[in-house]
Symmetry: C2
Subunit: 249 residues, 2 copies
Amino acid sequence: MGATYRALCEHGYADLTMQDIADESDKSKASLHYHYDTKEELLLAFLDHLYDAFTDDVGETDGDDAVDRLVTFVDELLCPAEQTDESRSESGRDGTSDQGTGSDGPNDGADEFEEFQTALLEIKAQGPYVEAYREQLERVDAFVRGRVREIVADGIDEGTIHSDVDPDDTAAFVATLVDGVNTRRVALGETDGSVRDTFLAYVRENLVAPDADVAVDLVGDTGCETGGDTADAAGVDGDDGRATAGGDD
Amino acid sequence: MGATYRALCEHGYADLTMQDIADESDKSKASLHYHYDTKEELLLAFLDHLYDAFTDDVGETDGDDAVDRLVTFVDELLCPAEQTDESRSESGRDGTSDQGTGSDGPNDGADEFEEFQTALLEIKAQGPYVEAYREQLERVDAFVRGRVREIVADGIDEGTIHSDVDPDDTAAFVATLVDGVNTRRVALGETDGSVRDTFLAYVRENLVAPDADVAVDLVGDTGCETGGDTADAAGVDGDDGRATAGGDD
């Protein structure tokens, strides 16, 4: 799975071959083929693994109240670098940034993260052709929307979120926004820009119950722009090749 | 340009060859190469043409006030089918739906539109590799953001939009939302879902000035889901091969 991640980063999806993946691993192409007949099958296993790693990584979404939890969750989706502070300090800042990529020069983490997002966008563009990819993408999306829906419903119960807010609609809106940020990161090379601020304004004006005593900008105010080192931003930990979707669906 | 559009719909971006494009036109591959050295050059000319057609098609964005104009503009971006009612009635509902696509069977407009959006998403995924593509994508995006910014600024001037709304942030938010809808249409096969409703709620709560006498749901309330015939949704008019981005950037 780590080799698949690295090969995707280096070659993108369209040009990827089983040989490229073998080259990033200690296995032969023949032994990869023993487990996976086609590149498609191997990538399906990879997407499956990505789902597990992503949902593990996101965990429970703690917070003082539902509004705090919602903003925290969206931050985890929009700013993957923030999300992996722990794994970064565990593995060291520089330990995983360019190992095994096989690139010509050192490949820093920010580049690697963009490369991975690019390969994921290529896989999204396969949605209409490869039903099994679409099913995996839908699974990640269902997780994201389910979490938002759950948090909003909790907020309505606890009185921090307006009772006329629709949890499903809010979930679809958040998921769409996150997809937009991820697409723009690849297509236009843009980070989240000012989207986080506008999202916070939306939360404040549209979601927070009128008499609720919650602050909307509780969480770190850095957005994604000051990302700094994003070596682990995609949740890849070199040794076990653990990779997450980094909030992408 | 019409042949390029049809070839993109049929073959997608990654597998597209100059021969595929020649096959959709009355030109030989050699004569295409006389004008365009590579597929990349031809696609750049196509993206350039798309920009012109899209900006022509969107036109001025009329409306009773800035809020009405903003909702109308976003509807044009989110629901391309709605946008081409005029060209549809001019060319007739069935005249342009499957001509010249070279597909095995009749290819209805909705399929063709999804195919084109898919090819565009593939081109977006080339952003990090082909700087000239990214520049064209940025140009469309700058147009979209510029229009939103202008409308919001007009609204602040005329008093329908709250004076503390930031036109730039609003523009980035809208553009991100539209990109998200377009990505999800391809990756997940989803139409705009409930995003339009939530966007209207955002406009109502976040943008409209407190004492302004404007209704937010002025424009048709169908969203994209009842799209019906979308043969001309991508703005392609068979005879002159005129194509628009259909609100995609």
